[in-house]
C-alpha cells in the first residue's frame, strides 16, 4: 500500500543568536493507511519538530529541507495556501494540551465542525448534527446536550475527546497525535488509547503517535522509530524493536523503567545528557554516553542506518546483541 505521508531526508534548522540549531538532522519515515507509526524519544530529540515540519507547521524561524509526500503529492514545493488546504482536508491533529486546540469562548459543537464547514462546505445546520455525531463517536455521553457546552465545562479527558472529534471532522487520512495522553491520568489515558485504536479500526486512518512513553508505544504502534539528537537511531516493526533492541540507546531506554518483576534492583541509567543541537558531534551523537562505546570510528564517522532484520534498521556500527550472540 502507498504511504499516506512519507518524509525523506528531512532536516530542520532553526536560526538562533548562537548559530543554527539542528533540530532534525535528516530523517526518513513513512506511514501507511490503517497503520500506526510511533515516534519515540526524549525531549529535544526532534520527534515533534520532524512532524510539525513535515506538515508545514514548523515555526517561521525554521529552515526545512527534504521531501514530503502527502498521498503522493510533493508538499515542499507548494505554496502556503495549497499546503494549508491539503493539510486541513487530509490531516487531523491532537496535541498534548487540549486547550491549545480549543477556543474557550466557543461552544464545542462549533469548534468540532469548524474545519468541516470550511473544507467540506457543510451548512450550519448540517454541521450541528455532524458535531453531535462526532461527539457520540468519541464517546461523549449525552452528546445532544453537550454540543452546546463550553470547553471549561469538560474534564481533561473529555476535552481531549472533543479535540479528537475535531481532528476527525473532515474524515482525515492521517491523524497526528503529539503526546495526546501525557497530561492525562493513567485510567483516562487507557480510555483515549482504546478510543483511538477503535476509531482507527473503523475508519482506517493512519496514525503518527509522538510519545516519550515506551509502554504506550508497545500498546499502540505497528512500527516505531526511536529518535535521538535529531536522527532516527533505530526503527522497525514494534515487536522486533522491543524484543531485540539493537541500538545501545534503545536498550538503555527500555532498561531505565522500573520493572515490578525485578524486585527493586538498581535502575539502569544513561550517564550525561544529549548533545546540544547547536553543536552536533560529527560521529554518532550517542557515542559520548554509550555503554558499548565502540571505537574511534563511532566518534568521527556518522554510522548509517543498516538493516538487522526485515524492516528493522539501526544506526550504529555495533548492533546489539552482536552478530555472534544473535542466532
Amino acid at each position: 500500500m502507498k504511504p499516506v505521508l512519507a518524509v525523506e531526508d528531512l532536516t530542520v534548522t532553526i536560526g538562533t543568536r548562537r548559530g543554527p540549531a539542528h533540530a532534525v538532522a535528516g530523517v526518513d519515515w513513512a506511514v501507511r493507511p490503517g497503520e500506526t507509526l510511533a515516534l519515540v524519544g526524549e525531549s529535544g530529540s526532534g520527534k515533534s519538530m520532524s512532524v510539525l515540519a513535515a506538515t508545514g507547521l514548523a515555526p517561521r524561524t525554521a529552515r526545512v529541507a527534504g521531501r514530503v509526500h502527502l498521498l503522493g503529492t510533493e508538499l515542499t514545493g507548494l505554496g502556503e495556501d495549497r499546503r494549508r488546504q491539503l493539510r486541513g482536508r487530509h490531516i487531523g491533529f491532537v496535541f498534548q494540551d487540549p486547550m491549545t486546540s480549543l477556543n474557550p469562548v466557543l461552544t464545542v459543537g462549533r469548534q468540532v465542525t469548524e474545519a468541516a464547514e470550511e473544507h467540506l462546505g457543510l451548512t450550519r445546520r448540517a454541521a450541528r448534527s455532524r458535531a453531535v455525531e462526532l461527539l457520540e463517536l468519541v464517546g461523549i455521553p449525552s452528546a445532544g446536550q453537550r454540543v452546546d457546552a463550553y470547553p471549561h465545562q469538560f474534564s481533561g479527558g473529555m476535552r481531549q475527546r472533543v479535540v479528537i472529534a475535531m481532528a476527525l471532522a473532515c474524515e482525515p487520512d492521517l491523524l497526528i497525535a503529539d503526546e495526546p495522553t501525557t497530561a492525562l491520568d493513567v485510567t483516562t489515558q487507557a480510555q483515549i488509547v482504546e478510543l483511538v485504536a477503535d476509531l482507527q479500526r473503523r475508519l482506517g486512518t493512519a496514525v503518527v503517535w509522538i510519545t516519550h512513553d515506551l509502554g504506550v508505544v508497545a500498546g499502540i504502534a505497528d512500527t516505531v522509530a526511536v529518535m535521538y539528537a535529531g536522527r532516527i537511531l533505530e526503527q522497525g516493526p514494534v515487536d522486533a524493536v522491543f524484543a531485540t533492541p539493537s541500538h545501545p540507546y534503545t536498550g538503555a531506554l527500555l532498561a531505565a523503567r522500573p520493572d515490578p518483576a525485578a524486585g527493586g534492583a538498581e535502575l539502569v541509567t544513561i550517564a550525561g545528557a544529549p548533545p546540544s543541537p547547536l553543536d552536533l558531534p560529527a560521529g554518532c551523537a550517542f557515542w559520548p554516553r554509550c555503554p558499548v562505546r565502540g571505537d574511534a570510528r563511532c566518534e568521527h564517522e556518522l554510522p548509517p542506518l543498516v538493516p538487522v532484520s526485515a524492516g528493522h534498521q539501526v544506526r550504529t556500527f555495533y548492533p546489539q546483541p552482536s552478530d555472534g550472540e544473535r542466532q
Binding site: 455521553p141 481533561g156 485510567t187 531505565a256
Partner: protein, 355 residues
C-alpha cells in the same frame, strides 16, 4: 474508625520472629516519624466545599519509604502538604516526632519545616531564578541557623552538592543554566540541608525524561541508604511508587482505598480501583499489551465537592452492588499487613478479572 482506617501496616506486624525458629524475619519497625490521624482538609471554593482529603490516617516510620499513589484529585499532594502544615487541616491531627503540630503557630512552624522537608515536581518553579544554586541551598542553612559564618556555609553547600552528585562549581550558576535533572538534584540538596526527619517527595520525577527519572530514583535510594532518610514518596506513576516504596497506599477521592507492601498491591490488589489502575498502566512489551485485558473505567473521577454517598468509587466501579450505596467501607485487613476499603474486597477484583 480511625483505628481501622489506618494505612499503617506496622501496627499489625505478625509475630514473625517466633514463627521461624526464633530468627526474626522482619526488621524491627522503626519509630514513627510522622503520623496523620483521620485527617480532613477541605477548601472553600465558589462551587462549594472541596473535600480534598477526607479522613486519611497514615504513619511513616524512620528509615522507610511510604509511597502514596493516586490520580489527579485523589488528595495525595494535599496529604503531603498537610505534613508540613502548608495547608491547614479542617479536622484530624498531624503529629511529627510524637508532637501534635496540628495547631502550631506560624512561629513554631519554622521548626517543623526543618524537621520535614519537601521536594517538588517542578524544580524550575521551586528555585528562585535570581539566586545562584549555592544561595538557594544555603537558604535553609541560614533560616535554621545551622552553620557558623560564610566559610562553614560554603563548605556545607559544597558537601550537599557532592551528595547529590553535582560538581561544586555549579554553586555559582543560576537555575536556568542547569538541566531539569540537575535542577531536581538541587531541590534534593536543599531538602537535605536541614537534616530533616522526613522528606516529602511530591512527584519528584514527573517532569523529567525517562533516563533522568532513573538517575533521580537511584540517587534518592542511595541517599536513603547512606543517610538513613525517611521518605513519603507521592506520585501518579505506579511503577515508580512500587519501585521506591517499602509500603504503599492508593488514594481515591480524598481517601486511602488500599494499603500494603508493593508486592501485595502489584500481585494481589484487593480493591477494584487498584485493580483498574494496575490494568491501565502500559507495559513496555508489545506482546503483553496485545494479550492483556484492560479494565476500562467509565467516566471521570466525581467532584470532591459532592462525593458519592456510601463507597466513593461505586459510581465508576464495574462491580458496584446495591449495598455499596449504603455503607461507606472502612480500611479493613484482607491479609496480614494488607488493607482495603471495599465491602467486597478481593471478591470484586476476582469477578472483574474473570469477566
Amino acid at each position: 474508625m480511625s483505628e481501622r482506617q489506618r494505612a499503617d501496616l506496622g501496627t499489625a506486624v505478625p509475630a514473625d520472629g517466633t514463627a521461624h525458629g526464633g530468627v526474626p524475619k522482619q526488621r524491627e519497625p522503626g519509630e514513627v516519624v510522622a503520623e496523620l490521624d483521620d485527617l480532613a482538609v477541605w477548601f472553600p471554593t465558589p462551587a462549594g466545599l472541596v473535600r480534598a482529603v477526607d479522613g486519611v490516617s497514615l504513619r511513616v516510620r524512620r528509615g522507610e519509604t511510604l509511597g502514596l499513589v493516586g490520580e489527579s484529585g485523589s488528595g495525595k499532594s494535599t496529604t503531603g502538604l498537610a505534613l508540613l502544615r502548608l495547608v491547614d487541616p479542617t479536622s484530624g491531627t498531624v503529629r511529627v516526632g510524637g508532637e501534635d503540630v496540628t495547631r502550631w503557630s506560624r512561629r513554631r512552624l519554622r521548626a517543623l519545616r526543618r524537621r520535614v522537608a519537601m521536594v517538588f515536581q517542578d524544580p524550575q518553579a521551586s528555585l528562585d531564578p535570581r539566586l545562584t544554586i549555592g544561595a538557594s541551598i544555603a537558604e535553609p542553612l541560614i533560616v535554621h541557623r545551622l552553620t557558623d559564618g560564610g566559610a562553614a556555609r560554603r563548605r556545607r553547600v559544597g558537601e550537599l552538592l557532592d551528595m547529590v552528585g553535582l560538581r561544586g562549581e555549579l554553586a555559582d550558576r543560576h537555575p536556568h543554566e542547569l538541566s531539569g535533572g540537575q535542577r531536581q538534584r538541587v531541590g534534593i540538596a536543599r531538602a537535605l540541608a536541614g537534616e530533616p526527619d522526613l522528606i516529602v517527595l511530591d512527584e519528584p520525577i514527573a517532569s523529567l525524561d525517562l533516563s533522568v527519572q532513573a538517575q533521580i530514583m537511584n540517587l534518592l535510594r542511595r541517599l536513603q541508604r547512606d543517610l538513613g532518610l525517611t521518605y513519603l514518596f507521592i506520585a501518579h506513576d505506579l511503577a515508580a511508587v512500587e519501585h521506591m516504596s517499602d509500603r504503599m497506599a492508593v488514594m481515591y477521592l480524598g481517601r486511602i482505598v488500599e494499603s500494603g507492601t508493593p508486592a501485595q498491591i502489584w500481585r494481589d490488589p484487593a480493591h477494584p480501583y487498584t485493580a483498574a489502575l494496575l490494568s491501565a498502566v502500559p507495559v513496555a512489551d508489545p506482546q503483553v499489551e496485545r494479550e492483556r485485558r484492560r479494565i476500562i473505567l467509565s467516566g471521570d473521577i466525581p467532584s470532591p465537592v459532592d462525593p458519592p454517598g456510601g463507597c466513593r468509587f461505586r459510581t465508576r466501579c464495574p462491580q458496584a452492588r446495591p449495598e455499596c450505596a449504603e455503607t461507606d467501607p472502612v480500611l479493613a485487613e484482607v491479609d496480614p499487613d494488607h488493607r482495603a476499603a471495599c465491602l467486597f474486597a478481593k471478591e470484586a477484583v476476582r469477578a472483574m478479572r474473570s469477566t
